[in-house]
């Protein structure tokens, strides 16, 4: 007997055509932007990007827009700032959450389930709900104690790390609960300390979960505007912030906006296409964020 999925093979052609149409519609916006990034100011203002696509050899293709946004508009500085914001904002919450998840999974203590319940509950909070007091607190620290974590990287690291913790602890604990307890008990019998077990056994065995969360968090931080705007600000402008300003100056030519957008897209796209499997897994697990 032919199965359902076999019998609909005859729909293969129709489905393929349907998908080609959908994928076409879905890709047009990005394609338009990518093409515009490589056009000169004059041609970007004179004709639509589809014109360049229809007649690719009669165009004055140029990298001018990239040079302009990298140098004059400071996109190069922003690229660096974004990396410096994103890397610790990814590594720190993973490190901190893995430690906490380890305690929640393998160490008995009073009120464990209860406290874990609170952590899970904290995933519920939209991050804006904590921003104003945190900002006021950091400004207070700067004014009264001269500790300037605001307006620089550490402010963003701390806030990104904290807001990532509930979800990270939740995901990592779920994963650690699937690790073989017998192995850990055996290590205890052999005289390994809890600290050693964490670093030598639990961390290496948790790599799939750590990787999934890392990619999810990296993309989240890279694409974030609000926290970077509030806590890093003007001094070390990240790419989303810079891009927003570029968008405000589109009178300067769409090729600049397009080139800026291209630069901010390229890293997430590389991460996405090379590590898609992990990204999907992290996304599925992080669906509650």
């Amino acid at each position: 007997m032919r199965s359902f999925f076999d019998s609909i093979r005859k729909f293969k052609l129709a489905s393929t055509l349907g998908l080609i149409v959908l994928v076409g519609i879905w890709s047009i916006p990005t394609v338009g932007l990518l093409i515009t990034a490589f056009r000169s100011k004059d041609s970007a203002a004179a004709t639509g990007w589809w014109d360049a696509l229809a007649n690719p050899f009669g165009q004055d293709w140029t990298l001018d827009a990239f040079a302009t946004v990298l140098e004059r508009d400071g996109m190069l500085q922003s690229l660096i700032s974004t990396i410096v914001v994103a890397v610790p904002s990814t590594v720190l919450p993973i490190l901190i959450a893995a430690n906490a998840a380890y305690a929640f999974t393998f160490i008995e203590f009073k009120g464990r389930e209860w406290i874990f319940g609170i952590v899970v509950g904290l995933m519920v909070i939209p991050l804006q709900a904590a921003l104003v007091p945190v900002l006021r607190g950091m400004v207070w620290l700067k004014k009264n104690l001269g500790i300037s974590i605001i307006g620089d990287y550490p402010g963003a690291w701390i806030v990104h790390a904290t807001f990532a913790l509930p979800l990270a602890i939740y995901i990592l604990r779920n994963y650690m609960m699937t690790l073989p307890v017998a192995l850990i008990e055996a290590a205890r019998v052999d005289g390994a300390s809890y600290y050693q077990i964490f670093w030598r056994l639990v961390m290496p065995m948790s790599i799939p979960a750590l990787a999934s969360f890392a990619i999810f968090q990296f993309m989240w931080v890279w694409n974030d505007y609000l926290i970077a705007f509030i806590f890093v600000g003007d001094e070390r402008t990240v790419m989303t912030y810079r891009l927003l300003r570029l968008l405000g100056q589109y009178g300067d030519g769409w090729q600049n906006v397009a080139a800026g957008s291209f630069l901010s897209l390229i890293v997430p796209l590389i991460v996405f296409f090379s590590l898609q499997r992990y990204f999907v897994r992290g996304l599925t697990a992080g669906a509650v964020k």
Binding site: S3, F11, K12, S15, T16, L19, L22, S27, P29, L33, A44, A45, G48, W50, Q77, I80, V84, L92, L95, I96, N99, A100, A103, I107, F109, V119, V124, I125, P126, Q128, A129, V132, V134, G137, Y153, I158, T162, P166, N174, S193, Y194, Y195, N223, D224, Y225, L226, T240, L243, L244, L247, Y250, V257, A258, G260, S261, S264, L265, F272, L283, A287
Partner: protein
Amino acid sequence: MGAFGDIGYGLFAIAIGIAVSLAVYKGLDLLVNLFSEKLQKKIRALGFLLPAALLLVVILLIPLVQTFYLSFTNKSGKEFIGIQNYVDLFSSPEFLGILLNNFLWIAFVPAITVAIGLLVATLGNNVGPRREKIFKSLIFMPMSISFVSAATIWSFIYVFVPPGRPEIGLLNSIVVALGGEPQPWLIIDTARFNSFLLMIIIIWLQAGFAMVLLSAAIKAVPEETIEAARIDGANTVQVFFQVIVPQIRATIMSVFITVLILVMKIFDIVLAMTGGQFNTSVLGFEFYKQFFLNFNTGAASAIVTILTILVAPLMWIQIRSARKQEALR
């Protein structure tokens, strides 16, 4: 070179940041080991939990309570004024318009996103694994794009060039080619038309997410149930709606609620596309505007408190269903 100075500073900052946190855990471990065996057992967990607990309490829990308190204070956040902020908000037509926008986002975006995701997932199931992978990647790709980048991409589609100059916006070019007049799309707020243009961007971003989860769910539907329905004479459409859809209902709900939560908190798109003008503002944007443009701490806190109260129950449902699914595994 400023940029290279930044690289040096950045690398240094990254190294210090990570080294300090590693040292904290090592230090805590050494500290715990100073105590007697019996006491160690009691405080062992603290060595691993303390940094996380400290951050969550100081940066999340306490500020949360403070925000709630600030929502009852005046513009500077220094004077207690009771529920005045809430009274002002709910008696202002502008704020009621904002709630209407949020409602429209909620009413349209999650349902359309799920429908498109389901369509792509179903079609993808018919075309063979190699094509499916390519098509799905392309639909999923916008998921990796930031809201601000997405806004630049779509601004370029909606862009309005005053008549007399060459048309470079895609939407207006199509309209002109069909014999119409170019329109300043984002300004048209009749029937909240411009808000719908913004919604399209989120649907474009999120459909891939819906597709990935729904596709996995469809593939997990046992084939026997489908064949049984075929033998009973059900046609393809009947099989889809009466056999497949009921079995993936949990996933549909979960995707729907996830997109719903995202949409309720929507902010960046509105900021980048219209700056909240022309009746497109939403709660997430209004919070930003009140705090960073109007410097009104009390009103901003009240708005974000309203948002939290609206979102929290939904997220709670989401987490509970996630836990239930784990229990089944």
